[in-house]
Each structure stands twice: as C-alpha cells, then as structure tokens.
C-alpha cells in the first residue's frame, strides 16, 4: 500500500529552536494519531506536510507527491483544520464552508451543494444560515471540520480538533473523525490527549521534543507483557515473591498488576501463587495504554540521549 505521507530527515527550525529534528517516517493511509506534548512539533509537522512551512532540510511526500515541487496539487487533495481560530465571524456557516470548497477549486454550484451536505454531516444543518459569530465553541469546531472536508479530500489534517470541547462535544467530534475513515478519507489527527487518539486511530506517531519516538500500528502497543491477577486472601506474599524475582508488581486491593521483561508472566504468576499458597479468583492480560507507552518511549528516548 502506498504511504499516506513519508518524510526523510525532515528538519525544521524557528530561529535557533529546532522544532523537528531529522524526522524519518512512513505512514500508511487510515486514521493516524499524532501525539505529543505541547511544543512537540505536531503542528510544525502538519504545516510542513501541507507546504505551508519550508523545512530547513529533508524531503517529504504526501499522497506520493513531493511537497517541495507539488504543494499546490497536494493542497487540492487534502484538508486542514487549524488548531486556532480560523473562521470569519461575519459570514454564515453555509457561505463560509461553500467558500472553502471554492478555494479548493470546486465550481460554485458544487461548492454550495457540498457545503449543505457536509454541514448536515457534522450536525449543523439547522444552523447553517446563522452567522459564525453567534456560534458556540463546539459548533465552531464542527464548522472547522466541515471546511476541512467539504472538498472531499483524500486526507484531512486535523490539528487538535477536540480542543476546548466539553465531554459530549468531544465524543461527537471523535465519532465524526471515526466516520471519516469509513468514508475513505484518511485522517491525520494531532492531539496531546492520548485517550482521544487511542479511541480513534489505528496508527500512532509519537513526537517528543521534535523527534519521532514511535510510529506504528496502535494495536502493537497493547502487547501482552503484563497480567492482572485477582487473588483470594492477602496478595502481599505473592507480590513480594514476584518482586524478588525481578517483576514490577502494583497492588491495588486484591488486584496485582504484574509486569515482567524477558520472562513468561504466566509462569511467574503460577509459580508465585503455588509458592505462597494463595488462591486465584481471576487472571487476564493487562494491555499497555497509549499513555503508558508514550511515557515509556519518551523515557527510553531520554536514556538514549
């Protein structure tokens, strides 16, 4: 499968500050999560991929086209939802979204028709003739998403689309993003909220301090390297037994979260329970959350220097 985008030694600086440091990536089509703390380089990466910023060094391709030579062609085929305010307050939602479609090269009639369809899709059909200045934050975010997809892009770059939304608005936005994948639109979705990425994406790119610390399928993060064990009676002896043999054990009530490296966790738990004569009520795999994976990868990156 041809990559959605790829970068080779992509470097970007703002004066003396390096925002991206020799990033090399190859990302397949689908729902891509771009995670990292504020200032990690997510927005800079997106804006470089769109050709809105010129990198200091390196190459990029989006949809198989080189950004350095075909940025305008690429921009006809992609959508962008900026993080900050980007809506004219004196226009109606229908007018602005239609105009955004025309800006991507759609003829006026088609632009108007698609504006109406997309505003229906994002749940703003009733409000489409209201002025944007009268909209709430949630409605604002939905109009921003609508303008990013109104021209039927092959990929939509969404920069913190759920920022500033209440829980209900956030769920709705994440649901819309999931649906874009079903419509055949790839999504590159940046967020510093890891649970949003975990719920929505099937590939994750982790950025920290301008470097990629991981890029891969999100499913690979749930590696069975840990077990959750619920025991009958006192869990402390078993926990101590396993800790003495190099495992990391977290005790919460009768629950033991057991993490081991380089050893079979099931065997270790079995031996511990037999040795300490503790009964077992429940046993299951503990998946690594995206947050844990991010912290672990960032720590490893720090250790590597």
């Amino acid at each position: 499968m041809a990559p959605l985008f790829s970068t080779t030694n992509l470097t970007h600086s703002y004066g003396d500050v390096k925002a991206l440091e020799a990033i090399t990536l190859e990302v397949p089509p689908g729902r891509i999560g771009l995670v990292g703390a504020n200032g990690a380089g997510k927005t800079t990466l997106i804006r470089n991929l769109l050709g809105m910023l010129r990198p200091v060094g390196g190459q990029m391709q989006v949809l198989g086209r080189p950004v350095s030579r075909e940025s305008l062609e690429i921009r006809s085929l992609v959508g962008y939802m900026p993080e900050g305010n980007c809506l004219p307050l004196d226009q109606t939602a229908a007018d602005f979204v239609g105009y955004a479609a025309e800006l991507a090269g759609l003829p006026t009639d088609a632009a108007r028709r698609r504006s109406s369809e997309i505003l229906f899709l994002v749940g703003l059909h009733e409000e489409r003739f209201r002025y944007l200045g009268d909209f709430s934050t949630g409605m604002f975010q939905r109009v921003k998403l609508a303008q990013a997809i109104v021209h039927d892009p092959e990929v939509a770059f969404l920069d913190e689309p759920a920022s500033g939304l209440d829980p209900e608005g956030r769920d709705h936005m994440l649901e819309l993003i999931r649906r874009l994948g079903e419509f055949g639109i790839s999504v590159v979705f940046s967020s510093h909220i890891l649970s949003d990425i975990e719920e929505t994406c099937d590939w994750v790119v982790m950025l920290d301090g301008g470097k990629v610390i991981r890029s891969g399928p999100i499913g690979d993060l749930g590696i069975a390297e840990g077990l959750i064990v619920e025991v009958l009676g006192d869990p402390e002896p078993a926990a101590r037994w396993m800790t003495e043999r190099g495992a990391t054990v977290t005790v919460t009530g009768a629950m033991l979260d057991v993490r081991v490296t380089g050893e079979d966790a099931f065997t270790l738990v079995r031996d511990a329970l037999v040795a300490t004569n503790v009964g077992i009520r429940r046993l299951g795999q503990s998946a690594v959350t995206l947050e844990e994976a991010f912290i672990r990868e960032a720590e490893e990156e720090d250790r590597r220097g």
Binding site: M52, E73, R75, C86, G105, R114, F183
Partner: protein, 301 residues
C-alpha cells in the same frame, strides 16, 4: 381518531464523494476575487455592513444624474457657452467622485485584508492551492475592479448622456470626444493607484478596520495640510520637497496632465514640481506598499 400519516426522518445521508473537476489555483484565485466583491459590498453579510458601500454608490449615481440633468437643461435652453465653459465635464467630475472614492478606498482596503488576518482565516486560505502572492494579488484584483467600476461607471453614464443630450447628435459627440475613451480610464487608474497604495500600508499594519480607515483618511488630510505648510510657510532649504507629502493631491495633478488642462493650484505644482514627479511618487508609494504587504504576509504565512 384518524390515523396519522407515517412520518420519516432522515437521520443520516451518508457521504458522497465529489467526482467533478477541480480547478486548482485558478479556481482558488477566482474564489478570493469574488469573495472580495461580496465582502466590500456587504453582500451575504448583516444589513449594517451594506450601509456604507451602498450609500457611497448611491451618492455616485445621484451625482451623475444631477450633473447630466444640468447639461440637459442647459442644452434645452440653448446656453451652449455655459455647457462648454461652466458646467463640469469629465475632468471636473473626477474632482467630486475622487473624494467619494477616497472614502470608498478608506474602508474597502482594510475590509479586504484585516478580518482575514485578525480572525486567523489566512490559515484556511494557505492550506488551499493558493500562495501568499496569489492571495494578495486576488485581493488587489478585487479592490482594483471595484474601484475602477466605482470611478468608471458614473463617468461612462455621464459620457453617454452627454452624447444623447448633445445638439450635434450622439454620433458626432462621440467622434469629437474620442480622447475621453483613454483619458477617463487612465485617470481612474491613477486614482486607484494613488489612493489604494497608501490605504494598503495602513491595512497591512493596523489590526482594526475602523482604525485603519480612520488613520488613512487622517493621514491623507493632514499630509495635505503639511505640504501646504512646507510650501507656503516654511522657509528653509529644501522645504519645497515637503510638498511631495500631499499624497491626496498627486492623482489630481496627474489627472490635469492627462486631460491637458492647466495645472490647478495644488501645493505640489506651486512647489515647482511637474506632474510626472507626482506620477513618480504615486508609483514609488505603490511599490513600497506592495513590498511592505508582501513582507508582512510572507512572515504571517
């Protein structure tokens, strides 16, 4: 109770892909130009946004109607000397419409640039197949077309009505006044350049439409006074160069040059400058304004 008809509600229309032609950069440029027209004229905006542009347009149309009526009345009573010598023709009519055009430019230029910049809409523009220079060129095109229409439509109506009212007949009048066909558009272009360049500087630097318009008008009026001061009051070597600050007067001087009329009493001409110097200043300010805007927008994007 009668049975109610079955009701159906569409809860999801799904998604349809666009299969038509994408017009790329050219389509994007056209969209920005058309949006510029709508923005300046207040179309698809709240009612209060329409008041100023349409008041100025109405003023222009009334002026041409009044002026044409005066010519018609004078021709009817046969006072041809009055028609020839006293009543305003194209050059003098520019004197009036240029002042209305100054107001038009004062609000139209920042209206085209400031809201996009201050409300962050530039990020949307520049994610489309559009470069910064395309954006600025399209905005300039919107302003240019509107301004030329603003100046040329009343002049064209006026010219046609003068032909209709002429005792010599329409065709004879048109043939005798062929020069008007280049003089009027050339003068309109000079006014557009002369006024919009200065307005562009303030629209580029000031973050509020009202302030940018007010400061532009203030500068145009105050600098005229300043120029008069340098020419008439100041008495030091080189003080006559202060006359070049009369940015509002330069297009008038060039207009007189284009129409082959004796130069009116502007500070620039009193300071001894030829009309070509005024034209040079207009071009220099235009280059400065475009360079400033280009630099500012390049940084923003």
């Amino acid at each position: 109770m009668a049975d109610r008809p079955p009701e159906a509600v569409i809860v999801d229309r799904g998604y349809r892909h666009f299969e038509g032609t994408r017009r790329g950069r050219r389509g994007a440029l056209g969209a920005v130009v058309r949006d510029g027209f709508r923005r300046v004229l207040g179309l698809r905006r709240k009612g209060r946004r329409k008041i100023l542009p349409w008041a100025l347009i109405t003023m222009m149309l009334i002026s041409v109607a009044v002026l044409s009526a005066l010519h018609y009345a004078a021709n009817q009573v046969g006072v041809t000397d009055l028609v020839a010598d006293e009543l305003p023709h194209h050059r003098e009519y520019f004197e009036f419409i240029a002042r209305v055009a100054l107001l038009f430019i004062a609000f139209a230029t920042p209206e085209l640039l400031v809201p996009d910049r201050e409300q962050g809409v530039l990020a949307v523009y520049l994610s489309r197949p559009l470069r910064t220079i395309d954006y600025l060129a399209a905005k300039g095109m919107s302003l240019g077309i509107l301004m030329m229409a603003f100046l040329l439509i009343p002049q064209t109506i006026f010219h046609l009505l003068l032909g209709v009212f002429s005792p010599d007949g329409f065709t004879t009048y048109m043939v005798d006044n062929l020069d008007v066909l280049w003089q009027v558009p050339a003068t309109a272009l000079v006014y557009f350049l002369g006024f919009s360049s200065v307005a562009l500087i303030f629209a580029t630097l000031i973050p509020r439409v009202g302030f940018a318009a007010g400061i532009f008008l203030g500068v145009m009026i105050m600098f005229n006074g300043l120029a008069e001061f340098f020419v008439d009051v100041a008495d030091f070597a080189g003080s006559q160069y202060g006359a070049l600050l009369a940015f509002e007067a330069h297009p008038h001087l060039v207009r007189d040059w284009i129409f082959g009329a004796s130069t009116s009493d502007y500070a620039v001409s009193r300071a001894g400058f030829e009309p070509w110097v005024a034209l040079l200043v207009i071009v220099a300010v235009a280059v400065l304004a475009v360079t400033l805007a280009w630099n500012r927008y390049r940084k923003l994007s």
